[in-house]
Subunit: 356 residues, 2 copies
């Protein structure tokens, strides 16, 4: 049973059976609430309710998917908490993927000016990424995480068992963030990971990925500087994700979009930050082998660039990328011109590979 210390709270690994009940007891909460989506209510909730005193909590549920990460669902949660007479000394347990942890974290951080919450991430992506670092958020229209707070949970419980019911495509989506963690911070981890069985990531590799994310956010909790290395692949990846949501019947997952974004930004890294050609090749072939290739046409470049211009992380209208200097090292604040961004998409578009 492992544990790491984050900004102001512990991250427990595979310790629910042993630690969750005690954590709640020690917190002397007046009541607690468990937020799930429809899938985690089915697959994950039993593992929790088994372990805790059933008289003491109420259940809140939202629909599954990004469509729930809105102010309307947030108002719904606030109103349920009001109806349940939740006082300031209540605890909210967010049991689900990044949608549930982002939405529940935001609702809790603003209810009565902030009640305690903990995350129990149930997707691979949320275990290695969304649940760590204190970002909460909701979307408005198509703008992802445009509203939110930086508020740390009181604890995170990462439980490998939840991955057993997670669909293969969701596992693959989370793997993209794990690969990113290797690329930006730890070459050894990248090599170990890419040679492992990515369809069933080992608990140890999940743990190491969480350690990397945690180290980065702990050193820069409010994203003034170095934390931005986590955005590698995300400037272009986010644009592809939004574009695909708007245009495709079966849109890209976050991880699939980020994988394509990492290829583009690895190419930019080679152009602007001296990423060696051998590293670029290794990244491209690894990611294409896992994720295949998304069909992106010259005709969509303008729309993609316009999406990038709306990115929350831009300042003064300039598009900023985090780029690699080599596998395992990343440099923040590289301003990229429109031409450079389009060229990177063009590079991606001409790669030879079968469509996903």
């Amino acid at each position: 049973m492992k544990q790491i210390d984050s900004i102001s709270y512990p991250i427990y690994f595979n310790s629910i059976a042993e630690k969750l009940d005690k954590f709640i007891e020690d917190g002397k909460y007046s009541r607690f609430f468990i937020l799930t989506d429809e899938h985690t209510a089915l697959h994950c909730l039993p593992l929790i309710t088994d372990k805790v005193n059933p008289d003491n909590y109420d259940l809140l549920e939202v629909s599954a998917g990004e469509e729930s990460k809105t102010i309307d669902f947030c108002i719904g949660i606030w109103k349920m908490l009001i109806d349940f007479d939740a006082d300031r000394n209540s605890l909210l347990i967010n049991l689900g993927g990044g949608v549930v942890t982002d939405l529940g974290g935001f609702a809790a951080s603003t209810y009565k000016r902030g009640i305690d919450f903990i995350h129990i991430p149930t997707t691979l992506l949320s275990q290695v990424d969304a649940s760590i670092g204190g970002k909460t958020g909701i979307d408005i229209d198509n703008l992802k995480n445009i509203i939110g707070t930086f508020t740390q949970p009181k604890a995170v419980f990462i439980e490998h068992a939840f991955l057993e019911t997670l669909p293969a495509r969701q596992i693959k989506s989370g793997t993209a963030e794990m690969l990113k963690h290797g690329l930006i911070a730890d070459a050894d981890y990248w090599h170990a990971l890419k040679n492992s069985n990515l369809e069933k990531p080992e608990a140890e590799l999940v743990y190491q990925s969480a350690v990397i994310k945690n180290k980065v956010v702990t050193e820069d909790p409010s994203e003034r500087g170095q934390r931005k290395i986590l955005n590698f692949g995300h400037t272009i990846g986010h644009a592809l994700e939004s574009y695909s949501l708007d245009h495709d019947k079966n849109p890209l997952t976050h991880g699939e979009a980020i994988a394509a974004g990492m290829i583009c930004e690895a190419w930019l890294s080679h152009q602007k930050c001296d990423l060696p050609a051998a590293d670029l090749d290794e990244i491209v072939s690894t990611l294409l082998a896992i994720y295949g290739k998304y069909q992106v046409k010259e005709a969509s470049f303008v729309e993609l660039r316009n999406i990038m211009k709306k990115d929350k992380k831009n300042q003064g209208g300039k598009i900023n990328c985090s780029l690699l200097t080599k596998i395992g090292d990343c440099r923040i604040d590289n301003i990229c011109t429109d031409d450079e961004l389009c060229d990177s998409l063009r590079y991606y578009a001409q790669l030879e590979y079968a469509r996903v």
Copy 2:
């Protein structure tokens, strides 16, 4: 020109002409936005726009009154900021009473996970109370401030000149909080204030009131303990305020309700915390002379008590009051029974005085 230091920011007095422009310049903001309501747009905005570079900001306006302190108006502000392409390095200036500072503070503290904001309070109540201490908030249904954050502004500018256009009844509303500051923390201030011309409060007395509020919140920013002394008069006062909003054509202002609440809670203080009878008499006669008496009937006691039960500050269903031990000293966390609360209302109801 005075200045006091709060939790993490300065409070400037009568220094807009000299300091506002420089403050904005030094902050190196990409843009700034001024939030007003319809009245402050008319009466207060000119004093600001006179002093700052007009190319650099945009105006946001909401309707006047508590009805604007809702999530709908907040969403309106978020969307305006999005439309104006406000980036993370933007500044929001909240120019108005407590409604504008609470609403604008909440919107800014959650937009892109928090942008800088400053308060320029334009009512007496917001100058001595709402703008100081970092509470932001909105109402849901009839629940006041049920959603919000603790987020400190980057500065507060308190300007006496704004009070010139403020209606007499709003002045009187603010005076109630000033009197409260004397009662809970400073007997000399209470005496000086009650003997001054309360229809035109002197700048020095406004300043001293802000100093008291600031001292209390600085010692307990997130209201774990001693900050609760500020709630003196508010347990019952808030209930009267909500009740009056629901039942009266011309409802009580916040200050009028708090004045009545302070009389009830002074009586409770006498019963439970040894507030001397002479102090009780002095408080009652002073407050009645200024605020007159609100007609409250035995038949409404149940409804009033039910409102108190919904109070954000209760824990475990118990109603908690901050009560005086003498003029100038207040003790937190006095649990009051239903009978005690009703008796205090009964005491108030039998006082002989003309209706407001």
